[in-house]
């Protein structure tokens, strides 16, 4: 069988070996970069999300409206278009500012660029998740905190944010799954994360089906492991509370 044996011939699977001529090592390197970008972007997204949620809840009209525009546009424009726009606009703006201040231009490395671009996209979603969860914290708990004489900061640090986490976790878990998959889009701007490495490997060896299946399996493993971890985390944060469903 010439075509059915296409993927299972030994020479096919040998190409996944970790040392050259196998591409396994390169794929793992790509996965490493993907995960680093995902972690960074997720953290940046959470930071934007928390400050944006606070801004949307407590801010004046200007702050509220600018966050509103950001969350609407950030969620309505295709990620691919946003990624390209941010990828070119960010360094341009930064260098413009640096030059006008009399500093030299800088080159932004791929990792930082990837984190900043995806983090910005994630932020728009995070704001809405965190804002919804903060508004869902029972008013009685906040009033009790006020009655105890807690300041605004203490109230948020000790009551509202901890009470919000179990409510936000399902949404945040979803966002993590989205960001791990969105790292693949960075292949379009030439970051050698998992998707682009796979594409190069497939192109070089002509074993398209096998390499894309391998990459699919790797991404699937990341998703399944993250799912399990988030389930544990949710169980820990929801301990002592009734089930949602």
């Amino acid at each position: 069988m010439s075509w059915a044996g296409f993927t299972v011939t030994p020479s096919g699977l040998d190409l996944l070996a970790f040392s050259p001529p196998g591409w396994g090592g390169n794929l793992l390197q790509g996965l490493g970069l993907s995960l680093q970008i995902a972690f960074g972007a997720y953290a940046l997204g959470l930071l934007i999300g928390l400050s944006g949620a606070l801004g949307k809840i407590y801010g004046g009209p200007i702050l509220r409206w600018s966050f509103e525009i950001y969350t609407t546009l950030g969620r309505a424009i295709p990620e691919l278009v946003l990624i390209l726009l941010l990828f070119y606009a960010g360094p341009d703006l930064l260098n413009g500012v640096l030059e006008s201040l009399g500093y030299a231009r800088v080159d932004i490395n791929a990792l930082v660029a990837g984190i900043y671009v995806l983090g910005f996209v994630q932020g728009a979603y995070s704001i809405e998740v965190i804002r919804g969860a903060m508004l869902a914290v029972p008013v009685g708990q906040i009033e009790a905190a006020k009655a105890c004489g807690m300041s605004w900061l203490t109230r948020h640090r000790r009551i509202i944010i901890p009470a919000m986490i179990p409510l936000a976790l399902p949404g945040l878990a979803n966002l993590w799954l989205i960001v791990t998959k969105d790292t693949a889009l960075l292949a379009v701007v030439g970051l050698s994360e998992l998707a682009l490495t796979t594409r190069q490997a497939a192109g070089a060896t002509k074993e398209y089906l096998m390499f894309y299946l391998a990459a699919g399996c790797i991404y699937l493993c990341v998703s399944l492991i993250s799912n399990a971890l988030f389930r544990l985390l949710e169980r820990r944060y929801r301990r002592g509370q009734p089930d949602l469903v």
Binding site: P78, A184, L209, Y219, L220
Partner: protein, 233 residues
């Protein structure tokens, strides 16, 4: 900002818009046709089919659409020529074109994501309504077509609208397999005019409008169906 190129490329953008819309409508239609049984068997069983459907949803939702797209276009595409006799058959022209592969990939994606939504939707329909339908002597297919499916969809219309917006936003990925949607035309303009931002902004604007149209359309359907329900109550 310079927009002198817009007039010259307008026909191209209209073509791209047509491809985007075609891709969206075809993949949502076929996707929902697939998603309905995928959601249904997870509620009704049999167990083996339910497990298959669940596995399908997990795999589709656990891997990036870009990889699925490349797997289907480059992976399957590299295998087809080895099937004896296929080059002479009538489907060969379709297999050489990228568009059917894109439709197939997006269909699978819609089926996976919406299948999960439909599972919850079928589950959420009140048991009493189904029992009433059975008491009227409806056979299983009439019950599904007249009661269960419409009530299920009604319950999840906003969620489905969200899924379709996500599908719309992923359509630019088709440009990576040489299907020239609006985004693909935008990239072409970028390469030919060396302008970075303007084509991207135009593409973003067009996609924003499309998203707005989908949202408006679903609001209208929702409004219609709830109004009818209020009258009937």
């Amino acid at each position: 900002m310079e927009w002198y190129w817009v007039a010259e490329y307008t026909p191209k953008f209209v073509e791209g818009l047509w491809i985007t819309i075609k891709l969206l409508i075809l993949s949502i239609t076929f996707g929902m046709i697939l998603a309905t049984p995928v959601g249904l068997v997870q509620v009704t069983g049999p167990k083996a089919l339910a497990l298959c459907a669940q596995g399908f949803c997990t795999v589709v939702r656990g891997t990036p659409l870009l990889i699925q797209l490349w797997l289907i276009y480059y992976g399957l595409g590299s295998i087809f020529p080895f099937i004896p006799g296929i080059r002479e058959s009538f489907i060969w022209p379709a297999l050489r074109d990228a568009f059917p592969y894109a439709v197939f990939a997006f269909t699978i994606s819609v089926a996976g994501y919406s299948g999960e939504v439909m599972r919850g939707a079928f589950k959420s329909v009140n048991k009493g309504e189904l029992e009433a339908a059975r008491a009227f002597g409806m056979n299983p297919f009439t019950l599904l077509w007249r009661i269960w499916f419409p009530r299920a969809v009604q319950n999840v219309l906003p969620t489905l609208a969200g899924e379709f917006i996500l599908t719309l936003k992923s359509i630019p990925l088709a440009a990576t397999i040489t299907v020239f949607d609006v985004y693909g035309v935008g990239s072409m303009v970028r390469q030919e005019t060396y302008r970075i931002y303007e084509p991207l902004l135009l593409v973003a604007g067009i996609y924003l409008c499309l998203a707005g149209i989908i949202i408006g359309f679903f609001r209208w359907i929702e409004h219609r169906s709830t109004k009818r329900r209020l009258i009937m109550d």
